[in-house]
Symmetry: C2
Subunit: 331 residues, 2 copies
């Protein structure tokens, strides 16, 4: 059954109703155990368990391998392309057909679990595969935004251990993307500057929350971090559209990500986490007020009723403290 997108008209919450992901009610409580290589559907010999790849990519880390990185459709997709885009009312409520795409990037042919097990060069190829999917998917005029993300470890929402990322293509803007655009537009109207450019300038000047700085990028603990030890990485120059980032930037980004992962592990022990890439929705790809960035979120604590009810967050670690811990490590 194809999915729908529903809006709760009282709260404004936006929900993808993905019935194909449903299991029977009694199964809901089971957390799937991280798979071992023998039972892993992404490992060699299990290719019958995954759909045929949409794309395959080579990588210098796997010489001679034509499919070091494979992009496949998600077997339990939240959104699918095989339906017309339609908005309709159900009584007083808003419903949209669940048009879009939900893909899985299988990031290595062998049973790699962490990006610390592979080289920065290989991670740069994974990031290039995200760019490739964005360029391809945005040719569909029904698709308005694409969110690549990674869930790592059971506390992050991941159900499989084999290194993978996901790409979700949406027929409308998500609430947080809309908020990034609205704030950016308003800031630009008042100041003539991009708010992220202002933040980057502040972080480079004070260095209080700065963790890494290279020619093209900086990594810092953002002011108003939602999670303890949250890290953002963004290009120093203004760039809205992630597909404009050239290979040298991808390699620096990969290196920064690996360094943050290593420093997290050193400071916090093994830590489940999420990565989310924010690139401008296509209609805004040239805007002077949207700035692409990668958000890295450790999953150290659990959201309670306050976070669900308020949409605000309680964080016990100041960004400056997190940055100091992560900056001074050399690992």
């Amino acid at each position: 059954m194809p999915s729908d997108i529903r809006r709760n008209n009282v709260s404004g919450d936006l929900v993808i109703l993905a019935r194909d992901r449903a299991r029977r009610p009694r199964d809901h409580n089971l957390i799937e155990a991280p798979s071992s290589p023998a039972s892993c559907p992404f490992c060699p010999g299990a290719s019958t368990k995954t759909p045929a790849p949409i794309r395959s990519h080579t990588s210098p880390a796997y010489p001679g391998h034509k499919a070091a990185i494979r992009v496949v459709p998600n077997l339990y997709p939240a959104l699918t392309p095989e339906q017309p885009w339609q908005a309709r009312a159900e009584g007083p409520y808003d419903t949209f057909t669940g048009v879009g795409a939900h893909e899985v990037v299988i990031e290595a042919p062998d049973h790699v679990v962490s990006w610390l097990e592979v080289s920065a060069e290989h991670i740069a190829e994974i990031l290039a595969s995200w760019q490739d999917r964005i360029r391809d998917l945005r040719q569909d005029p029904r698709i308005r935004d694409i969110i690549p993300f990674k869930n790592v470890g059971p506390r992050s929402g991941a159900t499989l251990a084999h290194a993978h990322s996901q790409i979700l293509a949406l027929p409308l803007l998500s609430p947080r993307q809309q908020r990034l655009l609205d704030r950016g537009e308003s800031h630009f109207a008042h100041h003539g500057r991009c708010p992220m450019c202002d933040a980057i300038d502040q972080e480079c000047r004070t260095e209080e929350r700065l963790i890494l700085a290279s020619d093209e990028l900086i990594a810092w603990a953002p002011y108003g971090s939602r999670a303890s030890f949250e890290v953002w990485i963004a290009p120093r120059i203004h760039q809205a559209d992630f597909t404009q980032a050239h290979p040298a930037i991808l390699l620096q980004l990969a290196d920064h990500i690996r360094q943050i992962l290593a420093r997290w592990e050193h400071a916090l022990g093994p830590v489940d986490h999420n990565l989310v890439l924010h690139s401008a929705p296509f209609a805004f790809a040239g805007k002077p007020y949207y700035h692409w960035h990668l958000e890295m979120l450790p999953r150290l604590s659990t959201h309670g009723g306050f976070e669900w009810g308020s949409g605000a967050y309680i964080n016990a670690t100041a960004s400056e403290v997190a940055a100091r811990h992560l900056r001074d490590l050399n690992c």
Copy 2:
């Protein structure tokens, strides 16, 4: 060190930076085990571990007991009253002093864990204690909104098993309260009606998502549920301010909550969950477009990168399916 409230000026995320809740970085990964009665700080004999009560309430469930329900300050408060309200800039960022209150309602003198172990009459007294705290705290002109909530079970963010709720008093409106108000105001401007009243009318007419209906209240699976088997309970008549709910309504509310908890347990097994009460921020207590309600959220799945990055939700269970499962049970 008193807490601050920070806004991430790029994303608009609102964060309470509660440094007193911080533990050393290495401790972050530890989930505290649910306490046993012997080590429970809320049980008899452990009164030295909790601060002196702000309020004590009697309950028909504990005859002769003067402190069947005790409200105490949270030992690791996210917000505290002992500081002036101040907004200031830090470079391009917005900071507010963390003025407010963070209280814990210890809901029973003995080691009760679930509301299914106590009577509806006792739960009604707990709800009355929430009303009492709202009435008292809103006399402080710096406080603009109060959120009572419950975390039950380790997957809900709870760290103690002994039945308790929390009350957080805020010096500004949370993003979700602001959204409820904005949507309500706009709906009222266009239609002259409260959006929640419209939703309640729709649910009573179609009965597709209806679970329980009594003289004063209905319980239903909301259209656009963020979580599988999410349930909302609200008064049939328009009422913005929860403190206006009279004792008979509190008793029906308590009964509805118990019935939903019992039906969840029957349909899903033991389920960690959050409860959040939404009552109008005080300046809006008489508004015709805000409608108090209780949100009940089972914690069956874990949010991943998509939810963090997009502010939208993926849910595998249609509200109609959840309602059918829960409606037809008689337990």
